[in-house]
């Protein structure tokens, strides 16, 4: 019988801190993708997760986590372990995404070099799906100007590289 060891996306990379921005790799106990096709499904989600399916661009806060809109009739539960509601499509995505928390006063300027969406829109309660450099991403607003960034697990290295490049550029501008 084999013994299997879990490994983080990108192999436990260190945090990146350059100038006024910092990126910390974070883990969520559960990433659960949910999608309903009818009202009954929406009710099942509300009952199971404590919050209903969020509208476009919205993040619903619940006691155990957050339910973020990620597409048409789709949401991603980020938080404590939760059983999938019945009557909706549900899939564990806990291994599919690399998660980074961006924080610091330079976050808007760093994001301005990576995404076409206005960083001012990414506030608590809001989520955007957009292209981050060349990668599809999920960006969720957090308190104190922080932003949680998710890209596919396989691209964790590219995310680190892109963040580092943007952060370096912003930091260099601060020096002139």
């Amino acid at each position: 019988m084999v013994e299997l060891v879990a490994e983080s996306p990108g192999g436990n990379p260190p945090p990146i801190e350059i100038g006024g921005a910092r990126a910390d790799w974070i883990t969520a106990e559960t990433l659960l993708w949910l999608s309903n096709w009818d009202d009954a499904g929406a009710s099942a989600v509300a009952e199971a997760m404590g919050v209903g399916m969020p509208g476009p661009g919205e993040v619903a806060e619940a006691p155990g986590g957050r339910l973020a809109w990620v597409g048409l009739d789709q949401a991603l539960w980020i938080g404590a372990a939760a059983a999938a509601p019945v009557g909706v499509a549900a899939m564990d995505q806990g291994d599919a995404w690399s998660l980074v928390r961006l924080s610091g006063p330079d976050v808007p300027d760093v994001l301005a070099r990576l995404i076409p969406v206005d960083p001012a829109e990414i506030v608590p309660g809001r989520v955007v799906r957009t292209e981050l450099k060349h990668m599809q991403s999920i960006l969720i607003g957090c308190p104190d100007g922080a932003v949680d960034v998710a890209v596919f697990r396989s691209m964790a290295g590219t995310l680190a590289r892109d963040l580092e490049e943007a952060m370096s550029s912003v930091a260099a501008r601060r020096m002139i």
């Binding site: 009739d73 806990g94 291994d95 599919a96 995404w97 396989s154």
Partner: protein, 988 residues
């Protein structure tokens, strides 16, 4: 000549730079042009065609004449390789000396001249000018025909061109970024400052972009007051207030283009003006500014008057002379003549005289105009000639009392103003002629959400600009539902436009229009005479306005000459089309961030590090990197590794990472019906625990992709796609679900990244799997079941892409690296090992399994021999279109196998197929090879390809010819399945 007491440069911060290797000095805040003019330099380089001496004409980004080459700091090695005359090695050619700021260590050199700007051998062209007029090359170099490519064109190309490109890679740090605002104000002159102030006071999010380092526009160049303050002081105070109100002032930023949806392109010079640049500081940045509304306050460009010899260094815009005087504290000459047709030119003479510069005279083209000043005034005058080989020495003025030659070293010319309408034309708008200001002004509806204000709108007075800026901003803000407080517009000069049009002077000699492309009045008249009477034709014939300045100073004058030559009014003649970018943007900046790994994301599998540790060369598959093969000790060629790895699978067991294949989790009560509609086959009847091969068609009936679908539960399937088409299939499913079958209760998401999946194939695959999961696999071919290797919930599929007993085992990606290492170790202990893409390819060709080499977008299921998979009992995407007569014609090129008649014969992918004994020419082409390999199993090359009536020709011989690789092989047409045709090994 520096003038004490004037200028906004910092006299306490001297700057040392060089021009053509000679040390030069200026002050912080100087441009190359202002610093060199202060040092008495007038000759900056040579012109494009005739190699005429060129100096400074303007003081802004519209400069056509003073183009220089600026070195970029770089590794010394680059210098050597490039043989650069500018220090640094990498350099930027065609830099406008009027824009580039000086900094310590900056090395500037003249261009288009050899050996020097004062003695340039190619100036011989100027003597040959009677033979080199517009369009000369359309009429000459006609014979002998072969000489064009061999002699004429290379010679012309060597002689032509502005500046030289460096021969080294451009590793300049550059960046791209996005900015967002309610109101974008383009230009920070009086109109722009007022517009931004109006926006900021209304609480809008405002971006104010200006080309120069300092907001203020012409207020910094004029001795005018605003609100009782000197103009420059008012500009500084207003800028300060704007900053306090949170306005984002982007200096050194030129808005270069207007695009759909309120998106503006802008080029910011970030570090180009600094001698000490921090690491990672970009030289420049290309911004995409997203604005809800915009006000264009880009000002206006002063136009020249075309008269003989008006291109000599020393001839300048009258407004530029004022700018050098007041903004930089520099007089471009010691003895200046002013020539104009409007009142603005008077200010130049007055300002010069007030600064103590000798004004040698004022040539006013109009009669009856009062010009106060302590200098000679000639009314109804024209400048008809200039002298001075390398710089102006005198001008000849013709006036009512006669003609006189006036010694001078600078001639300040004003022919009136052209509003900078360019950005309003980027979405196909055409400017309209305004007779009252004798200029083209923007079409108000040219760009949705953008209005022009100030001089860009033809409001040339200072107060007019201030009022216009406030008014246009107010309109924009109110359209966005901002409450705009009423604000008084400051008092300022409000003189009306007084101008009498004067485009060119009738006199002998070459009168220049386009100083960058060396176009004269005569050239334009010649175009008209050759019947190229449309302004667009004239432009292309003469190249007027086609240089890097896009003819900002010359366009309107050129079309006025054309109008005169064709007897049409100016509005009827019209303008050419202004296109982005407004000013040149380096290609490297547009592509910033795309070098090296920035080109595309890298997708790495969980086994990536392990593959690298085994020395596997990685190859791209979509965005993924996959191992090509795993070299073993003693192997010197990839074929050795590949053959060995194929042997693992055929004889013992091989393992391969197949995580890159797309996986889509499809759920919902209608999941089966949905898959029935997207696949050619029937999936709703698939039993749980079973897997089925499926073919997906495009709407046009051609094959889009293939893969498997496993039924995970009553209302859940897991489908797989090929690596390259995963995104395309996902998009297709979204389209079908949202547009074609919106009522279906089905939802799906990509599961590709969630799972690490590995193929285990070969006669000992079952043993390996059994060892791994602690129990026999217990699966029939095309079945699946949950397994838990090491207690981790996983899935085991009995599927095969190799033709052997094959499994694919999947676990959540976090366990991927660990499981892979365990699989590889176990495979090796059984006499097998990992196999890479090369072996995978050989294995599937031996079995005739198609990949995207065969599913190339033009193949139908019929072509592939998969016609039987087109279920007749249901509708599916592509069914009707696939049944078109032409797509089921037996004569089509259809999939076959190919084997050399002689085992040593070569088969190569891309080779074409001909009848045996036929000439290998296009008209005899019968098909081509899509995949080829050497089969260690069969001991010869084999291939898959498409051949006319292919399946009917099995056993026939065909001629295979690869012209590129010099291969000519007689092949036998076979079934695409070369090995284990009945699939006994696979089914076990």
């Amino acid at each position: 000549m520096r003038i004490d007491g004037l200028g906004l440069v910092d006299r306490n911060r001297p700057v040392a730079f060089s021009f053509d290797g000679k040390p030069r000095r200026g002050y912080a805040g100087d441009t190359v042009a202002s610093a060199l003019l202060a040092e008495g330099v007038r000759l900056f380089g040579r012109s494009f065609k005739y190699h005429r001496p060129r100096g400074v004409l303007t003081a802004g980004s519209e400069e056509p004449s003073a183009l220089v080459t600026v070195s970029r700091p770089g590794p010394a090695e680059n210098t050597k390789r490039a043989g650069a005359k500018a220090a640094g090695g990498a350099w930027t050619a065609n830099t406008r000396a009027t824009v580039q700021e000086i900094h310590d260590g900056l090395a500037v050199s003249s261009q288009n001249c050899w050996p020097s700007p004062s003695f340039d051998l190619l100036a011989v062209n100027d003597f040959l000018h009677p033979f080199l007029g517009a369009g000369f090359y359309y009429k000459t170099f006609m014979w002998p025909g072969s000489f064009w490519e061999k002699v004429y064109e290379p010679a012309i190309r060597r002689a032509a061109g502005l500046g030289r490109l460096p021969k080294v890679d451009d590793d300049t740090p550059r960046e791209k970024a996005w900015a967002h605002c309610d109101l974008l104000v383009i230009g920070a002159g009086p109109a722009g400052l007022m517009a931004a102030l109006t926006g900021a006071r209304a609480g809008a999010r405002v971006i104010l972009a200006d080309e120069t380092p300092l907001p203020g526009g012409r207020l910094l160049s004029e001795s005018l007051e605003v609100g009782g303050l000197p103009g420059a002081d008012w500009a500084a105070r207003t800028s300060s207030e704007l900053r306090n109100l949170g306005v984002r002032i982007m200096t050194r930023t030129t808005v270069t283009g207007v695009y759909d949806g309120g998106v503006f392109g802008a080029h910011e010079r970030v570090g180009e003006h600094l001698s000490d640049r921090p690491a990672h500081l970009p030289d420049d940045c290309f911004w995409r500014i997203v604005a809800r509304r915009a006000v264009l306050c880009a000002g206006a460009h002063e136009r020249l008057v075309a008269f003989p010899g008006n291109d000599r260094p020393g001839v300048m815009q009258a407004s530029a002379v004022r700018t050098y005087l007041r903004r930089y504290g520099v007089s471009p000459g010691r003895r200046v003549v002013v020539f104009g047709n409007n009142d603005d030119a008077h200010r130049t003479a007055r300002d010069l005289a007030a600064a103590g510069v000798e004004v040698a005279g004022f040539a006013e083209s109009r009669e009856g105009v009062d010009i106060p000043g302590d200098f000679p005034v000639w009314k109804g005058a024209r400048v008809v000639a200039t002298r001075g080989r390398l710089g102006l020495r005198s001008v000849t003025v013709r006036h009512a009392s006669g003609t006189e030659e006036v010694p001078c070293d600078c001639l300040a010319v004003s022919g009136g103003w052209n509003p900078a309408v360019h950005l309003t034309c980027h979405m196909n708008g055409k400017p309209v002629w305004n007779e009252s200001v004798h200029a083209f002004v923007p079409d108000p509806d040219a760009v949705p959400g953008m209005e022009a204000a100030g001089a860009a709108l033809g409001q040339f007075s200072t107060r007019g600009a201030l009022k216009s800026g406030a008014f246009r901003a107010r309109r924009a803000l109110e359209a966005m539902d901002f409450k705009v407080p009423s604000e008084a517009v400051p008092e300022a000069e409000d003189d009306g436009t007084r101008i009498a049009p004067l485009w060119f002077v009738q006199a002998g000699g070459r009168a220049w229009l386009d100083l960058q492309n060396d176009v004269t009045v005569k050239d334009v008249r010649q175009a008209a005479a050759e019947n190229l009477q449309s302004v667009e034709h004239m432009k292309r014939w003469t190249t007027q306005g086609m240089a890097t300045d896009q003819g900002k100073v010359s366009n309107v004058a050129a079309l006025a000459v054309l109008a005169d030559a064709t007897g049409r009014p100016i509005p009827e003649t019209g303008t050419t089309t202004f296109r982005p970018p407004y000013t040149p943007v380096p290609i490297g900046t547009l592509g910033a961030g795309g070098r090296g790994e920035g080109f595309a994301p890298l997708r790495l599998t969980t086994s990536h590090a392990w593959s690298l540790s085994r020395g596997a060369p990685m190859i791209e598959a979509g965005l993924w990197l996959r191992p090509s093969y795993f070299p073993a000790e003693g192997e010197s060629h990839w074929r050795e590794s590949c053959d060995r790895e194929v042997g693992y699978v055929r004889n013992t067991v091989g393992v391969a990472d197949v995580s890159t294949l797309g996986k889509i989790d499809v759920q919902g009560p209608d999941a089966g019906a949905f898959l029935d509609f997207v696949y050619t086959g029937m999936f709703s009847t698939l039993r749980e625990g079973r897997v089925k091969y499926g073919l997906m068609l495009r709407e046009d009936g051609h094959v889009m992709d293939d893969g498997t679908a496993a039924r995970l539960g009553a209302a859940r399937y897991l489908i797989t796609t090929t690596t390259a088409a995963a995104g395309q299939v996902m998009t297709h499913l979204d389209f079908v679900a949202q547009c074609l079958k919106p009522g279906m209760r089905v939802r799906f998401a990509s599961a590709t990244e969630q799972w690490a999946q590995f193929a285990v194939a070969g006669p000992k695959a079952g043993d390996l799997i059994g060892d791994l999961i602690g129990e026999p696999p217990a699966l029939d071919f095309m079945g699946w079941r949950p397994v838990s290797p090491g207690g981790v919930e996983g899935r085991l599929f009995r599927i095969s892409f190799s033709g052997e007993e094959g499994y694919e085992i999947a676990v959540p990606a976090r366990f991927g690296a660990s499981l892979w290492a365990a699989l590889a170790e176990r495979a090796e202990s059984l006499g097998g090992g990992p196999y890479g893409m090369e072996a995978l390819n050989v294995l599937r060709i031996e079995k005739g399994f198609p990949t995207h080499a065969e599913l190339h977008g033009r193949a139908t299921a019929f072509d592939l021999g998969f016609g039987g998979m087109m279920s007749g009992g249901k509708d599916f995407v592509g069914r009707t279109m696939a049944a078109r007569e032409g797509l089921v014609d037996p004569d089509r090129e259809r999939l076959v196998g190919l084997k050399p008649v002689d085992d040593s014969g070569r088969i190569t992918a891309g080779a074409h197929l001909f009848g045996e004994g036929e000439r290998a020419a296009r008209e005899n082409d019968q098909g081509h090879v899509t995949s080829a390999c050497h089969s260690p199993t069969l001991g010869c090359d084999i291939g898959l390809g498409f051949l006319e009536r292919g399946p009917e020709r099995r056993g026939e011989r065909v001629r295979l010819v690869d012209h590129l690789r010099g291969v000519d092989t007689v092949c036998e047409v076979t079934s695409p399945v070369f090995f284990d045709a009945d699939g006994g090994r696979m089914r076990g």
